[in-house]
Symmetry: C2
Amino acid sequence: MKGINMIQLAKELGLSVSTVSKALGDSYEISASTKKRVLELAKKYNYKPNPFASSLRKKKSKQIAVIIPDIVNNFFALAVDGIESVTVNKNYDTFIYLTHENLEREKAVLEHLESGLTSGLIISACTGKDGYGHFQQFYENTKLPIVFFDRVPDLLQFPKVISNNYESTFEATVKLIKAGVKRPVFIATEEPLYTSIERRRGFQAALASHSIKFSDDMILECSDDMDKNYAIIRRLLSGKKRPDGIFASIEKYAITTYQVCKELKINIPRDLKIIGMTNLRTAALLNPSLSTLSQPAFEMGREAASLLIKMIEKKSYAAANDIIVLNNELTIRESV
Amino acid sequence: MKGINMIQLAKELGLSVSTVSKALGDSYEISASTKKRVLELAKKYNYKPNPFASSLRKKKSKQIAVIIPDIVNNFFALAVDGIESVTVNKNYDTFIYLTHENLEREKAVLEHLESGLTSGLIISACTGKDGYGHFQQFYENTKLPIVFFDRVPDLLQFPKVISNNYESTFEATVKLIKAGVKRPVFIATEEPLYTSIERRRGFQAALASHSIKFSDDMILECSDDMDKNYAIIRRLLSGKKRPDGIFASIEKYAITTYQVCKELKINIPRDLKIIGMTNLRTAALLNPSLSTLSQPAFEMGREAASLLIKMIEKKSYAAANDIIVLNNELTIRESV
DNA sequence: CACTTTTACGAAAACGTTGTAGGCGTGCTG
DNA sequence: CAGCACGCCTACAACGTTTTCGTAAAAGTG
C-alpha cells in the first residue's frame, strides 16, 4: 500500500484537506475552479482514496458478500455472474465465500462477517438441518441487509429470490407421466433444502393429480458423497421393480443416473425416462440428450443483487420482505 | 455496522485501550490473567475488531482479489474453488472480479485495485492484445504481489502457475494422428492468449514430428461470439476438404463442434475425431463421449493462492519469479 | 542494599478519510 | 448602512485500531 494521500494533495494545492475531500466528493461547497484544480492534481498523481479510511470514517463500505454452497456448479456460477453484472455497475466489490454444503462453515462465515466487513449479504443456504437460527442471529447482531436466493430459509422473514419450483416440478412430472411413466422416482437431497422440499411437493402433487398412488420408495435420498450416490442409484436401477421414470432434483444426480444407465446398459428413454434439474449447457449433447428443468440462474443472481443494493442504499428497504419468483424452464429432449 | 469496540471493552475492564489491543493480539507484554479477562469480556460481548480500522492502521489487509475472464466455465470455477481452499485456511477474504474477456474491464479492475483494497492479486488474463502493460503499470504503482495462472503474460516477470500446454497438446495431437487423422484442424482463440499459443505450438510440433505438412487453414480462429463461431465451424465442416480431426483448444469450441456435427449428421469418430480441452464433468456422457485434455484447475488455483499468500506474508518472496507447471491429463474416449 | 532488568501496563500519536461547525468576505435587502 | 444570506473555504474532531515510547512496580543481581 503506497501512493499519495489527500494531505499531500492539499499541501501541494495550498488547500485544506477538507476542501480536497469535498472537491473530490463533488460537494456544492467547492467552487468549480477549485474542483478542477483538485481533480487535475489527483489525476496527475493517480490518487486513489484509501478505502479503509473511508469505510472507517463513514461506517459503511461498498462491499458485499456472496455465500454459496459451491461454485463448481453451473447454477451457482451463473448466479454469481448475475450478481456481478449488477455490482460492477454499482461499484460494489464482491467477496465470495463457499460453504461446500457444510453448515459449520456457513456459520463460521457469518460469524466472521459480523465484523461489519460488508454492507450486505447474498446467501444461498447449505442446509435446513438445525434450522436457520444463525441467520437470524447474524441479523440481530448486525442489522445488515440480507437477500437469500434459491435455497432460502422459508421460515424466516427475509427478502428472497426463488424460482417456481413447485409448479415447474409439477409440470415436469406430468410430462413424465404423459410420456408413459408409471413408476416415477424423485431423487432428492437428504438435506431438507427449501428448494428440494418444494420440488418434492410438486412431484407428489403431480402424481396425485394423475391418480398415481404415492409410496415412500418413490423418493430416493442422495447425499453429497458421489460414490455413495452412485451405489444408491445403481441399486435402485438394478432392482426388480425398478422405476421407469426419474426426476433428478439436482444436477449431480442426473449425471450420476446417466452414468449408471450407461454402465447397466439401460436404454433411455425406452426403459427409463429422465428429467433433470440442471443448467448444464451440454444437456443437449448428452447421449441421449437430457430433458431439463433449468433455473433462471443468472436472472436470480441479478435480482438478488439489485434488491440487496436497494436495501443497502435506501434505509426504507431495510425491512423489505419481498419475495421475487422467477420461472424455471422445462425443455423436453430425447430422454423423455 | 454496530457492535462494541475496544474502547468500551477497555472502560469496562478498567484497562487502557492499548492493553486490550495487545491482549487480543496475544502480545507477550500482557499477563496471562489479563489476557484471560479481556478474552472473556470480548467473547461475552461478541466483540469483533473493526477490519477497516485495523487495515488502515496496519496499512495492510487480509484481502485478496481474483480476476478471471469468466466464472461460468468449469475451469475457472474449479480454480476459484482451489483458491478458496487455501484462503479459507489462511483467513483471507477473497474478492472476485470477472472481466468477461474484456480488456477494458480488466484495466478498470486493476485501476480500481490501485487503491490498495487488497494485499495481492491472482489473475488469469483476458487477452494478449495490446500487450500486458497494464499489469506492469499496476505493479509499479502498488508493488503488490501478483500471481498469474493459466493465461499468463509470458513476457512479464511475474510468478505464474501454468499447465504443460505445449507438451500435452503435442501428445493429444499425436493421438489424433495415430488414430488415422490426416487433416487435423486446431480451433484457436482469435485472442493471442498465452495458453492458446502454447497449445498451437504443441499442435504444430506434433504435425512436424509425423511429417504432416502444416498449412494455415489448419488453424481456425474463433471468437467469443458463439453464434459467429457456430457459423465458422459449420462452414469448416461443410466444406469439401473438411478436416477429419479436430483439436478444440477451449471448452466452448468443443461443444459447438459437437452441435455442428449433430446438425450436419457428421459421424464422430468415423468421419471426424475430436479432442477438446475441457474440464467438463459430462464429457464422458456426451454422444459420443468426448476425449478430453483437461487441466488440473483446482490444483492450479490452490498453487496460485499458496504462492500469493507466501509472497504477501514474507517479503522475501516479493521478488519471486517462480513458475509452477502442473500436468494436463489426456483422456481418450469414443470421440477418437 | 543499591543496582539493573524484567514484567505489565498506559498515554498518545499515528493511519487517511469525512462531516460539522465556523469564519471571512462579498453582495443583496430593507 | 445595519443586517443577512451566500459562496467558499478551513480547523478540528471523529472513526477504531496498532504501535512506539515511557514508566512504575516487581524481581533479580552482586
